[in-house]
């Protein structure tokens, strides 16, 4: 199973400009998470801080119990071997062909024979659909191919944590879906922890188990996908709809006057630029049939059901609706229960507080804690 990443109070600024402050989140081991946010909110900076390429001003980022913000350089290089990182442009070595690029980590860090290296590299290149392009140089191929080659290189060491920076930029929608599917299949096969940084709404809605959003120098929220997808938070709502109406402006923020002016335009019949209202929980991408089941799904369900009573009602509905009859049975939910859960203020569980059952009776009523025989499944 992949490693758990615990980020606490991470703050980063360049000179006087704060990029984001006090970001706290936990990437649950083996699950797929996504970090959303408008362009320029420091998503890539966050990713680079997580692997120690940039040094945050404050906070901790623990991987397998090692805080990479304060640990020694030598330890940092050790920890990084657990990571597979796909950079925005693939970040391939321009002087090597695709085969050598993908073989680079193997040759550096393992004592595998050349034939073994060859087998692994060809397998990964095949996985990303680049069979036959091994001899090409990065300068000779398209951006999408570079991206896929970068992914192959990130995968050769069988990483426990895979970080993906904008897998969709420069790719057409079809290839984006293929990449999504590939990430899902990977998660099913190796059970790695995956973090995707993106602003592709479609990908964000269908792929991750957990979603977070950075905006206005803060982590607006981070939680199970249902929470964000059904959120009433204006910035989240606007972002998921790709609409011009909301707090996100062309520059980082907009003022009241601009917002009012835009609202007036919309009221006068001008299109807001958004698609249809796409809120709501949509089915998640499944691994390709024939592959093992994603372990993360079950773990996540157990986890989410334990904190269900702390989630906003709309998210709760979404979660309960997505359960199969057997699962409802397992968690002890009768259909229709969620309608009576009451309407508390939507908010994901604040991360820096111990959670307390909000109203004593709810947790026994809604979520039976998982029985132990469920954990060690196939």
């Amino acid at each position: 199973m992949g490693a758990e990443v615990v980020v606490e109070g991470l703050t980063k600024s360049f000179g006087r400009q704060t990029i984001w402050r006090d970001v706290s989140l936990t990437l649950p081991p083996g699950e797929v998470s996504a970090m959303l946010g408008p362009s320029g909110t420091g998503k890539s900076v966050f990713l680079k801080s997580m692997i120690g390429l940039l040094k945050p001003d404050a906070g901790r980022c623990e991987i397998n119990g090692v805080d990479i913000v304060t640990c020694s350089e030598r330890k940092l290089y050790e920890i990084r071997k657990l990571f597979g990182v796909l950079f925005q442009d693939g970040a391939l070595f321009g002087s090597m062909n695709l085969y050598d690029n993908a073989a680079f980590p193997l040759r550096e860090h393992t004592r595998k024979s050349e034939s073994e290296v060859r087998r692994i590299v060809l397998e990964k290149l095949d996985m990303v659909g680049l069979t036959g392009a091994e001899k090409k140089l990065p300068g000779e191929i398209s951006g999408g191919m570079r991206k896929r080659a970068g992914l192959a290189r990130a995968l050769v060491l069988d990483p426990e944590i895979i970080l993906v920076d904008e897998p969709d930029s420069g790719l057409d929608p079809v290839r984006t879906s293929y990449i999504s599917q590939l990430l899902m299949d990977l998660n099913a096969q190796v059970d790695a922890t995956i973090l995707i940084v993106t602003h592709n709404i479609n990908l964000a809605r269908t792929v991750p188990d957990n979603i977070g959003m950075l905006f206005r120098r803060e982590l607006v929220m981070f939680g199970p996908r249902e929470v964000l997808l059904t959120s009433d938070e204006p910035a989240v709502k606007q972002f998921l709809n790709g609409s011009r109406i909301g707090p996100i402006g062309m520059s980082e923020e907009k003022d009241e006057a601009t917002m009012a002016a835009e609202q007036a335009h919309i009221d006068a019949g001008h299109h807001d630029g958004g698609t249809d209202d796409v809120r709501g929980v949509v089915p998640q991408v499944e691994p390709t049939p024939g592959l093992p089941e994603r372990q993360a799904v079950r773990r996540r369900k157990d986890r989410v059901m334990q904190i269900l009573h702390t989630l906003p009602p709309s998210a709760r509905e979404g979660i309960i609706d997505s359960l199969t009859p057997e699962e409802r049975d397992r968690y002890g939910i009768q259909s229709g229960v969620h309608a009576t859960l009451g309407n508390r203020r939507p908010s994901p569980r604040p991360r820096n507080q111990e959670w307390q059952p909000a109203e004593g009776t709810l947790d026994t009523e809604v979520a039976n804690l998982p029985r132990s025989d469920w954990r060690g499944g196939p």
């Binding site: 390429l53 001003d57 290089y77 990084r80 071997k81 950079f87 970040a91 980590p105 860090h109």
Partner: protein, 264 residues
Amino acid sequence: MTAGTTSATFPGAGALRQTGRLFALGLDVIVQTFRRPFQFREFIQQCWFIASVTILPTALVAIPFGAVVALQLGNLIRQFGAESFIGAAAVLAIIQQAAPLVTALMVAGAGGSAICADLGARTIREEIDAMQVLGVNPIQRLVVPRVLAAMVIAVLLNGLVSVVGVLGSYFFNVVLQGGTPGAYLASFSALAQLPDLWISEIKALIYGFIAGVVAAYRGLNPKGGPKGVGDAVNQSVVITFLLLFLVNFVLTAVYLTVVPPKGS
């Protein structure tokens, strides 16, 4: 990379910080040189690359340089009436001062700028980041072979410049100024001594190191985008030149104090 909230803001702090980081990179390079596995292949490739871009220009610069020294000295010395010592003075000037400087300018201008541009392009394409993420130290992997190559090539080029420069000055003195070959050759070792050659090579070695480290430092820290790489190359050459002349002054002063002139 480590500019945190605590960084001081007094005037000149930026310059001090840059100097400190440059120095830190220099130390890093020295430490990482002894870290196995040594990147032998990269080292040879870089040696060949730097040699291929510097040999011809260096030779072409060395000939007129020797000639200028011969002309200038020839005129001066004739006024003193010491024509027989023209060879001695020319050799000393060329080997001690001209050769290491010409070498350094070439290694910095041709080799250093190429190193800086190469590393700069890699940095903005995130190749350096990718390398670090793959658990490989780019200083050990990329910078050390380049700096060592610059040093080796500087030492070798220094020999080339010395020979070509002396030949050039001989030619101009004998053919154009009507000097006598015998006088030139006879006084050849009147003033020059073996330590002069040593200091010349040591200078070249140090200049190669400085040129390599400065180029690598500017290359690894370009400011924003492709234009930043261009600026970085420009700055790396300028900074190297400034440092070289400063270091040359210090080394020369130390040498003249420590090593007694011939015959005294």
